[in-house]
Amino acid sequence: MMENVVIRTVSRLAVPFIQIFALYVIVHGASGAGGGFQGGVVFAASFILMIIAFGMPNVRRRIDNRGIMWLSVIGIAIYAGIGFLALLMGGNFLEYAAIEAALGIPHLHGILIDLVEAGIGIAVMAAMVSIIFDIAGNGEESS
């Protein structure tokens, strides 16, 4: 592992900002430019920066492969779950208007889209990080 103070310090400063920006992009999906896919990829980029700066073992200590796979499943389950919720409320699959009509809450439609975006963001982030984890190896032989 190469010791590089500059890279480590800058990454330590940059990673929280990248993650906040990723959450901003995900939350802004329904009202402006943004969305779950883009935000998820930005969030995964922060993990990749952490892997480059601190090495794979340090990052793996925080999140392991099993947890990442569970996150990926949970993200898609949120999306499909909202779809089945609409089915349960008497609409078609993924018909958000049926949930809004059944519960009687105004503007629920946009909130449900935001929830779906959050699920997509979690799933995309977990998929990207999982691929990096598997391809980059354990980090014992290099960096």
Binding site: G29, F37, Y79, A80, I113
Partner: protein
């Protein structure tokens, strides 16, 4: 000799591609009544201010669910192929 021939063939192919692409008309999409419908009605119908989001997550929600599933499957495939197991 073979190397020179391959370079010449590559240049010829790139030239042909350039000639074909320069003949196409870009930035001239056909006007369709569907486009105007989305722009005018997506805000009331889907509750999203962003038309792209309305189309992606509401009108084509099923498609987006499939996209997420494809990404998940890609991650699963990478795990299956590249993950190191303890026993070997």
């Amino acid at each position: 000799m073979k190397r020179k021939l391959s370079i010449i063939i590559t240049i010829l192919m790139i030239g042909m591609l350039g000639v074909i692409v320069s003949g196409l008309t870009f930035g001239d999409p056909v006007d369709h009544p569907m486009d105007r419908y989305f722009i005018e009605n997506s805000q009331e119908e889907s509750g999203a201010n962003n038309v792209v989001t309305a189309v992606l997550f509401d009108y084509r929600g099923f498609d987006t669910l499939g996209e997420a599933a494809v990404l998940f499957t890609a991650a699963l495939g990478a795990s299956l192929i590249f993950r190191k197991r303890r026993d070997d």
